[in-house]
Symmetry: C2
Subunit: 189 residues, 2 copies
């Protein structure tokens, strides 16, 4: 039942917005009583915190699994992370949009916890870039932090427009973006 | 007065959200009557449409000015657009966030108009990439549309984190991102 409540709320929050969705809307959608809802969650805010935390924790977990692989170089790990993020859209697009859009409605405690996880994700990414620079797979760059934000932007933005059912597959898009990140678009002389 | 209403609303919509801000909140903030508000706008939705439309029209106008320059090659125009977008953050961050976040609250007519302008901005960008490919400044690429979304993501994302008062200037960030887009991060053998 908890899963069902979360699933339905993700749909409603994404469609109507967090503020515009009441607990009443959620329980009516499932056909249960408010009592059932409050058995699992203290309130709407806790549920939102749960959705955002699950979303970002899942990404960090997948990312760290990729980074720990001792048999892959930084370039291969970069591809795996880009692919993981794009592949994530199919199942997590709604959660991602709620994450990006509704975070300001979280209470302070949830917000701190979620921002910390988000920071871990970004710092892990930056460490990979820095490791690639040290190992001379990537060019020296005095601003790996800015570079990381830029690289993150490429995939984060895809949550707003990429259609996993469309002509370009997740694999293909990951290839295009890793090629952009690694080699750029300039024609060499 | 119209300008004052728009300015105040941008602040309130960004802070509290569009749905959570009432016309009462807006007029109280300025110290005028609701009558004054309704003299200029039919309602909150029209005001939101106005904010979003002004935001995107201004970007398209600046972009087309850059693209029309007969003395610059595609690489220089790419730099100018990236710089224009990053430079825009200082004054337009709030409008941009409202644009990205609140668009679903627009009425159908506004939404169509704004989406059309947004499409023009993206198509102009894509044409620049394609022209660069034709002129052999950029490498041949079978997916200039996907590439354009990726390049857009780099700068669009910066609205969420870039601090124009921070250590890295707009010029520097534009340089870092144009270098990423042109040359990538891979160390050549």
């Amino acid at each position: 039942m908890k899963e069902k409540i979360i699933e339905t709320s993700i749909e409603l929050f994404d469609q109507k917005g967090f503020k515009e969705t009441s607990v009443q809307d959620i329980v009516e959608s499932i056909g249960v009583t408010k009592g059932t809802f409050y058995y699992y969650f203290k309130g709407k805010e806790e549920l939102l915190g749960d959705i955002c935390l699950t979303y970002i924790e899942d990404l960090v977990r997948q990312q760290e699994q990729i980074l720990e692989d001792p048999n892959k170089d930084c370039t291969a790990k970069l591809y795996d992370i880009v692919y993981m993020l794009i592949n994530n859209i199919k199942t997590q697009r709604r959660s991602a949009r709620i994450f990006f859009r509704e975070m300001r409605h979280l209470n302070e405690l949830h917000l701190q916890e979620i921002k910390a996880k988000r920071r871990v994700f970004r710092e892990n990414y930056q460490k990979l870039i820095e490791e690639g620079i040290t190992k001379r797979e990537f060019k020296n760059n005095p601003n790996p932090d800015m570079l990381t934000f830029g690289i993150l932007g490429i995939t984060n933005w895809s949550y707003y427009w990429f259609n996993p059912e469309g002509e370009v597959s997740e694999e293909k898009l990951a290839e295009i973006y890793v090629d952009l990140i690694l080699n750029g678009i300039k024609k060499s002389d």
